[in-house]
Amino acid sequence: MRHRDGIAVVAVADGLGSRKHSQIGARRACDAAVQYVCDRINESGRLRRRDVRDAFLVAREAVKALARTEGLPVGELASTLLVACLDYGRLHWGQLGDGAIVASTPHGHHVVKPETDHEYVNHTYHLLEKQWSKRLASGVVHDVGHVSLFTDGVQGMALVRKDGRWAPFSGFFDYCLQALRDQAAGERSAWLQTLLESPRAAERSGDDKAWVMVVRDG
């Protein structure tokens, strides 16, 4: 995650559980995507719609290059990838695979991509598959105060699903946002980490959990 002057660029990625080196692939994908988006902002001062989509191509190539450097089968580094840039209330987002991005506006909390990709639970799209660009969803949401990105291990705590569509559980987000505002700035990450490592979170899902939340103060 990077931030400055009212602009935050964040990414989360979830390595595919069965792939041996997916964690390093996920890490590389996040680093490459965030770096690319930050470079675009530094160059032109603003983000274009296509920049977030291009970040996924850059991330994919970075992971493939890492595989070559390390002498690893490239498929072993597969991961999902979620990227968001919150720029003074305008949210640019991109998502490939499961997990969710939740934007909070004056009208409430919204899952930016509510449709589930796959009907079946043990399928997800990932950054290294051939059809990745067709599976990539992206968009812009305006008037966003806060945004959360999380992997599918957090979904059971924060979202509800009905008729194939995800929706935020508002009580969860309202509580967490208020609780984070009540924490000192340096304590907020620890609060989130404690929640994710709690027995209550483990009851919801045994999957790895990653959650980034961008909260605009004021």
């Binding site: 595919l16 559980g17 069965s18 792939r19 997916s22 597969a78 499961d98 009907e119 079946y120 639970v121 043990n122 399928h123 997800t124 990932h126 059971g156 705590m157 924060a158 979202l159 509800v160 699903r161 009905k162 008729d163 194939g164 559980f169 009580g171 969860f172 309202d174 509580y175 967490c176 609780a179 609060w191 404690t194 929640l195 709690s198 209550r200 979170a201 009851e203 919801r204």
Partner: protein, 232 residues
């Protein structure tokens, strides 16, 4: 009490489900050793699934029998509801009615999953028969409609369909019903016990699978399956 105990969360989602339908021939030709071994195999399957903590909450079993009529022996539910030794053999072979009933049961179950937001694995349908249908024949409207329904469902990934022919089965008819991507498999003799051991292992593997795993849909033609004859 820790702070995280106060965090509002939605109702606990249910464990994902693997809908698994067995469409079993209980016509007269299955009398004697065949039906006895089929019942024993079902009992073994029940205990194997119940013995695996994850599989016991994941596998959502339904049993449809055909012979003398088509009927739902057990509607969708946990393995503990699988009846022990209850199947009897007799009468003709209404395979068409049995398959239609099974496909309808699956569609109803999928609607429930969707309505209730329950995660699922791709469902499995296993047809096990030792004969040929007496309520339809290749080329007639019912047969063509069923074959199309199975092909279309498989192609749309609504389910995976497996046709298993026991001694005496008309493999040609099964070949016309089964999807082209998954031709029927011939069972060796009455090796129902081995078949249900294989099925319970496959069910347990699927229950424990992670995203990206390739072991999701079982393939009876692969591996050292003592119950399956090699495809020619």
């Amino acid at each position: 009490m820790a702070f995280y105990d106060d965090v509002p969360m939605p109702d606990q989602p249910q464990e994902p489900k693997l809908a698994s339908i067995l469409v079993l021939d209980t016509s007269g030709s299955m009398a004697g050793d065949a039906i006895r071994q089929l019942n024993e195999g079902l009992e073994l399957y029940r205990w194997e699934i119940l013995g695996d903590k994850q599989a016991s909450v994941t596998v959502d079993s339904c049993i449809v029998a055909f012979g003398p009529k088509a009927w739902v022996v057990q509607p969708f539910g946990p393995a503990e509801q699988i009846p022990a030794g209850g199947l009897e053999a007799g009468g003709p072979t209404p395979m068409g009615a049995g398959l239609e009933l099974a496909l309808d049961e699956l569609e109803d179950r999928r609607r429930v999953y969707r309505r209730d937001g329950i995660d699922t694995f791709r469902p499995w349908i296993f047809l096990v028969t030792d004969g040929r249908p007496t309520d339809m024949k290749p080329g007639d409207r019912r047969f063509r409609a069923l074959a199309e329904r199975i092909r279309e469902g498989e192609a749309a990934k609504r389910f995976s369909f497996f046709a298993i022919g026991v001694d005496g089965a008309d493999m040609e008819v099964l070949g016309q019903l089964a999807p082209p991507s998954r031709p029927p498999v011939k069972m060796r003799g009455h090796s129902f016990k081995e078949f249900f051991e294989w099925l319970s292992d496959a069910s347990k593997s699927a229950s424990h699978s992670c995203p990206g795993d390739t072991v999701q849909t079982p393939d009876p033609s692969q591996g050292a399956n003592p119950w399956a004859e090699l495809r020619v």
